[in-house]
Symmetry: C3
Subunit: 491 residues, 3 copies
């Protein structure tokens, strides 16, 4: 069978003149129906200018503390964004040729122009994906590019972005203002000494760039670096972690340090949502044996589940909001992990159970006014079946935004359609961008606001909501609900 | 982080004059697209006036037998409706302050005006929920209220409803006519002596208000009251239940009594859909040990599954239709259950399997013309994967309506979109309201008819169905199919 | 309760004159919104005339090799199509009365007119199903029928089709041209001697009608005919299969034979997607014991999983594309299976896991440029959760079309909406018709193209894609991507 290497018979048609110009339509991502679009636009306009609350993300504190200029277009927009690299990899581009660093320091592509060209000439792969939507927004709004990416336009676009990056007002701290970011939270391991956040505090940004406490690494005794992290935890906390009670005390100390540095939340990315507690002696014994290196895989999972339960108790003590986002099997391909490390696009979701898994924590703390948990999932089957029924009953629960693979126009729409009728709007906690791609933050929030406006417009036109209510709700979803959901509980 | 306690920046806009007036738009819940809406309206108009067939619900027979006036607005519309109370609880309102009775008889709010005010001032929480849709319908259509609920309007609305309740034509039996309820089924335990239904028969309502046989309580030997219920079953049936064969004989006797009282169906709310039978001696032995109080959790589940299988056999004998709605983990929060009892909004769905679980029953009775089972789920992932393929093959099966958390505009729409292509329309069994909130029955049926009309209108405009066919189908879905699905099989 | 046997109160209305005439609207299955429909139509028009690539189906090679006229309307359109018979069976029509043959050769309905009448008078059961859509297309486009099926029109329609079937240009090979089928693949067991394909090669059709290698039967040692098939495999391959290594060698020989006959792919319909390999000695031992008849159900599943892993390795050797479509519990009803055999509409999907199940194969071969796997599912919950994340990362993976119960307007739409944002369009592999109903092939491809055009039109109107891109993508989806996905890997 002969196959033409050139995809797209339709290509033979003369492209329309304007197709070479990249522009953002003001009504992009709004619904097709013209009446609905008009109402959606009115609602969206009330939220478009609101400041961004970015309570869950992966931009490093270092970026703001050092405030250095970004390196180049490829290093800013392609190499660190696994949404982008995974799609190229899926069509046969090797990670190394995209400049993705190797764990062993071995050679990878260092020519950023070449990397950028590879991205641009594969632009069609991103059709229908949120990466395309975000990138168009960034190119136009952030960098002033008006060319559609392609093999031919790669270089002029590169030059335009490079010039923009070099401008003094394009430093990270300047972008905080430009992007209207009122508050941004980094994600930091339990072992972090928060040095960058101290520096940010001295720079007057201590309440604007805050840390989030993520203890996953020390909750999983089978991680290769676990033993070293336990030592590091002792060092940074000043608490002996050679016993289970010392481990808990050290965690408490770090939580206090994070809170003192402005932190409002903790973050938990376990494989399962299980929160079954162990009796304290059993946990202490397991911890003791883990230090000696001898626990089974089942014991590791039991310990991780136990620590979620323990964390909920600590949350009642110090008021940090607990974010739980289970259900991702990390590092699915051993070869990619061995060569390039983690977070390289090979984390794959699995079916996730919440109803039984969260029962221990909710039975104990679910009605405790000091407790707040925000639930995320990449298994959307639980929206209507488990998450909305739970959040529509327990006062301590809020539903996090459609996350990761679901942070997309259709994913967001399905979330509202599946969760709202049982959980309402007010048991949800607004948008989290959860990104390593700093320049994409405004695009992501903008898209969320457009999709919410579209959903609300439908309710208005179906006479299920007045337009005033819709506007008020949209503003709450975009701005007030994340602030409330992540506000410190009073212990 | 400072958080304004006042939600909704949008609130600053002057509310439009009409927003304070509660009205029902004639096209509410119909689709946004104007062409589709016009067709949907034409279809809906053909079903809007059809009588209601209410084959699955929780209004007590006592309500009709005594025909007393409802107590007051809060006791009618808030306190008993766990859809309403759970949403308020989810935002921090204590069940007791909503008047939800305590198991120990301890103090709860008794000021119905105060309860009603709490509800009204939290009206925004219900945005986007079916509770809001139903309540608006009830307020306008049933009570003649034209004020939007709020802190300010709570009292005048209360007064209006209270006055309406006091009118002689607002008694339950009068509402049967007003609501065009042709047939309504109560849900009654296997141990019921059906006294209320006897009384209703004497009042000439014996064929209009009928019982449904629900033996869940006696099928689960780990229930606290199980032993007492087994004794009560013996008493009411006049059959010795101290042996397994006596137990079966007593069940048969009660089924006959229910059928004699007009009953058409049985109802089964197990956690799992498992129908694996046990050998009779093993079942007898297990029953014997259960009476002595010594069966494990696994044995209880095996016995419950076995009893579903046995029930299917009995259905072939007496022609009662078997309703199966598994997959709800009851009483998720022990504290709420201990304080307030069951059915208080803390029943949470779990993933539910049907294909393998129902195989024993279907293998034996699936092609038996005497057998009819209607399947319900709150796990909508099974619509296209399991339920529609099963119902589109086995002549004994029909799919029940979108149920409980899925009894909502989006939930209904997803049901039709997911189930129709494989099961068609004629393997579904129409709407069941499944409500304790008597006054919401017309609103629920009305919504179902609107959503079905909308779905059918799309098929018409996509040229997949003629409009005459759509109207005929809509009428069948609203009226004929429930009557047929629940008709007594001829044994 | 009295139930009118006559469904459809709406029936009383005088049918509109045109409702008795069957016509295909040119815009059928396109979206309701008029702007979206206009764009969808423009896109669809660019793909409507493209040739059909039919890489996965169940039309027998014998049909083309013998090129005999089809028997009659019932034998062509009803009896062999389990989509049609299962729906009739679900409403109480016995398979035998539809002419479905009995395994024991016992009597079934042989009057094709009677079978056809049964189908026509139950036409309403198919409302909203793809069977209805396909059948209307066939009746009008293929047979020139312009009557709506009903009890009254059954005979004239039968006559019209019968006359058409008798025409010389209606032979199977002639229909290949008439249907614009560029390439069609049959599905053949590993034990096939490919005699019909040799004959087709001699007739000059060797590159147009090609075989697909389906070894399911020899991978499952618990199948009743397994031992005989192993002997047959030895006979047809000329390789001794009395040892595991001989078994593998025989499989390799057959794969070569299929490839030599033009075959491009293998096909695997296991219950689970598990691909866990066994150590070779363990596999050899299991195979040895299986020949002796003594393996457990668990061992059978382990062996089947192992053989999927082994098959992936063979695919790297010979470049045959591996199609995996797990998750169907075959022959759910033993009685129907015993009486009528397999593929009679009683295959029911089960929840299916891919992330963990495929990990062994993907870890080993996922980045191997010689490997290509195409994944199908009837569990649509995995689209966004597992399949799109996997296909959006691994270069060896492509997503197969919405399949079987999901091969429908809504099913296809949900596939694009759920998979595109993470996998893009270019990690999908186009449409497969997967049908035994030869005459329905054009209708199926046509529907797919309409639904894809509708989805793309929405992206255009939401300003997420230019119209030129949409057209190019539509052409790729309809024609280029299946050719590329199924192209032989170079080993």
């Amino acid at each position: 069978m002969s196959v033409s290497p050139l995809l797209g018979l339709g290509r033979d048609r003369a492209p329309r003149v304007d197709d070479r110009r990249l522009r953002l339509h003001p009504d992009r991502a709004l619904p097709v129906d013209e009446r609905q679009r008009a109402v959606a636009r009115e609602i969206y306009e009330q939220t478009a200018g609101l400041p961004l609350i970015c309570m869950h993300g992966h931009v490093e504190a270092e970026v703001f503390a050092s405030n250095e200029a970004f390196a180049d277009p490829a290093q800013l927009l392609v190499v660190p964004d696994h949404y982008v690299t995974r799609m190229l990899v899926s069509q046969g581009v090797a990670p190394g040729s995209l400049g993705v660093p190797r764990v062993d320091g071995g050679p990878v592509e260092t020519d950023s122009r070449a990397i950028w060209r590879t991205f641009c000439q594969n632009w069609k792969l991103f059709r229908g994906t949120p990466s395309r939507y975000w990138m168009e927004h960034e190119l136009v709004e952030v960098f002033g590019v008006d060319l559609v990416p392609s093999a031919e336009t790669a270089d002029p676009i590169y030059d335009r972005i490079a010039a923009r990056i070099a401008e003094p007002d394009f430093r990270p701290r300047q972008l905080l203002d430009r992007f209207s970011i009122e508050l941004i939270s980094t994600t930091d391991p339990a072992t972090s000494d928060l040095r960058q956040h101290s520096q940010l505090a001295r720079q007057g940004l201590g309440e604007r760039v805050i840390p989030t406490f993520r203890p996953d690494a020390v909750f999983h005794p089978d991680r290769p670096g676990w033993r070293a992290d336990i030592d590091k935890l002792a060092e940074v906390s000043g608490v002996d972690t050679s016993t289970y009670s010392g481990f808990l005390a050290a965690l408490r100390e770090r939580r206090q340090a994070f809170a003192a540095a402005g932190g409002l939340a903790t973050d938990h990315g376990h494989l399962s949502a299980d929160t079954t507690p162990m009796p304290t002696p059993a946990a202490a014994d397991l911890y003791f044996r883990a230090l000696a290196g001898g626990v089974s895989r089942g014991e590791v999972q039991a310990f991780a589940a136990h620590m979620l339960f323990v964390t909920a108790g600590m949350a009642c003590e110090d008021g940090l909001v607990m974010q739980i986002h289970p259900g991702v099997l990390r590092d699915h391909h051993k070869g990619v992990f061995d060569r390039h490390g983690q977070d390289k696009g090979f984390d794959i979701p699995v079916a996730t159970e919440f109803t039984r898994s969260l029962r221990p924590v909710l039975d104990r703390y679910g009605h405790d006014p000091r407790f707040r948990a925000i639930l995320f999932t990449v298994d959307e089957t639980v929206y209507s079946r488990e998450l909305a029924p739970l959040a529509g009953a327990y006062p301590s629960l809020r539903l996090g935004a459609p996350w990761w693979f679901l942070d997309s126009p259709e994913g967001m729409r399905r979330f509202r359609e599946s969760a709202t009728e049982t959980a309402g709007f007010y048991n949800t906690s607004g948008f989290v961008d959860d990104t390593r791609a700093f320049a994409s933050i405004p695009a992501r929030h903008d898209l969320f606001r457009r999709i919410d406006a579209s959903f609300l417009a439908r309710l208005v036109l179906e006479h299920r909501l007045s337009q005033d209510e819709a506007v008020e709700t949209a503003v709450d979803l975009a701005y007030n609900l994340p602030k409330i959901a992540y506000s410190r509980r009073s212990a």
